[in-house]
Symmetry: C2
Subunit: 210 residues, 2 copies
């Protein structure tokens, strides 16, 4: 299979979210035009995105909402459960641990880790806070698929290195720092400062360039 651009994958997520939305409202079919309008792109883009994975539509008719939903869930790997651990039980880790959206999408938060003895052992959103010293052992024993990193910048890279060594292959980082991983590990970073700076850049340069 050809390499798929990250931008394409992001859009697939958007399409799926809309399909589920209109599906729940009873829609049975839809078109690339609908998906484009709702997802903020063009119909050609929608069709091109889907074409990387097959042809799911009917010419003259459009797409079956349940069928396309299901195909997208397959493509995105959502037709199964994923075991997630949250590393760092600070403010962000806490908000994430209690976030119901995880379970709805098939993500099972089955461990929260911290190094603070005052937090270890506490129950938190139905999950016990575990000792971060056991992280490597648990990555192997509990077979976490995804680690969500919510620790201060200084600790982030060290923890990532430990987790990678223990075999983790997917990390979602909220640490406000740049992290590097080997090529066979997938990393996504959510960095508040970076997002806000994107806004201030636009606010500062608006008018000058568009």
């Amino acid at each position: 299979m050809k390499r798929i651009a990250e931008s394409t994958v992001r859009r697939l997520s958007i399409y799926l979210s809309f399909l589920e939305d209109i599906g729940a409202r009873g829609a049975l079919t839809t078109s690339s035009d609908d998906l484009a309008r709702l997802g903020g792109t063009t119909s050609a883009q929608v069709r091109k995105d889907l074409s990387f994975f097959g042809s799911f539509g009917k010419r003259g008719l459009g797409y079956s909402v349940p069928e396309l939903s299901s195909r997208l869930r397959e493509i995105l790997g959502l037709e199964r459960q994923w075991r997630v651990c949250i590393v760092g039980a600070g403010k962000i880790g806490s908000a994430l641990a209690r976030y119901a959206g995880f379970a709805e999408r098939g993500f099972m938060v089955s461990g929260v880790y911290d190094s603070d003895p005052g937090k270890i052992g506490k129950q938190w959103g139905g999950v016990t806070v575990l000792d971060i010293a056991d992280l490597e052992r648990d990555i192997v024993a509990r077979q976490y698929h995804i680690a969500v990193l919510a620790v201060p910048a200084e600790e982030a890279q060290v923890l990532v290195d430990r987790m990678v060594k223990a075999g983790i292959k997917a990390i979602l980082s909220f640490a406000p720092t740049q992290i590097t991983v080997p090529a066979d590990v997938t990393l996504r970073t959510v960095n508040m400062a970076m997002e806000l700076e994107g806004l201030t850049f636009a606010l500062t340069n608006r008018g000058a360039d568009r």
Copy 2:
């Protein structure tokens, strides 16, 4: 000025964060090669990114850390304070309101809004929770520059429309839904589900495509 790609702006943030880091450790000069290595890109990319805004280096020598930091802060619009309001005092809004990183970067959280009477009036991380009914009035009166949206998907677009009408020009959304804004408003979206789906896509298709 030529239109600058979002990817470029993101990298500028990364460069700045590293410059501040090594600057604090006493480094006086650096090179595009250093910035590239630390930022996970190439030296040509670094030089190209900077070249959109001017020439800040000295051939044969590299860049002055304090000077380049300062130029990047200027470019990103960080040489001033920005007034931020947080809309939605749920789990995410709460974590954001208490997040110290805001102030460090010049972002002043000067209002948190919710519609829950049980929350309005409460003190929260030094800020009082205000009535979301007053949002439009306050956008005008308090001149918020940036709104951080942390409400459920269903309420997001309606609130965005209200804020845009009141004159807000920059929104950072954590709502798990696609939002549309007029061309003169800048929107950045952080969507957990989308990030996780990027990971599961990679986990599912890994090996097939790389």
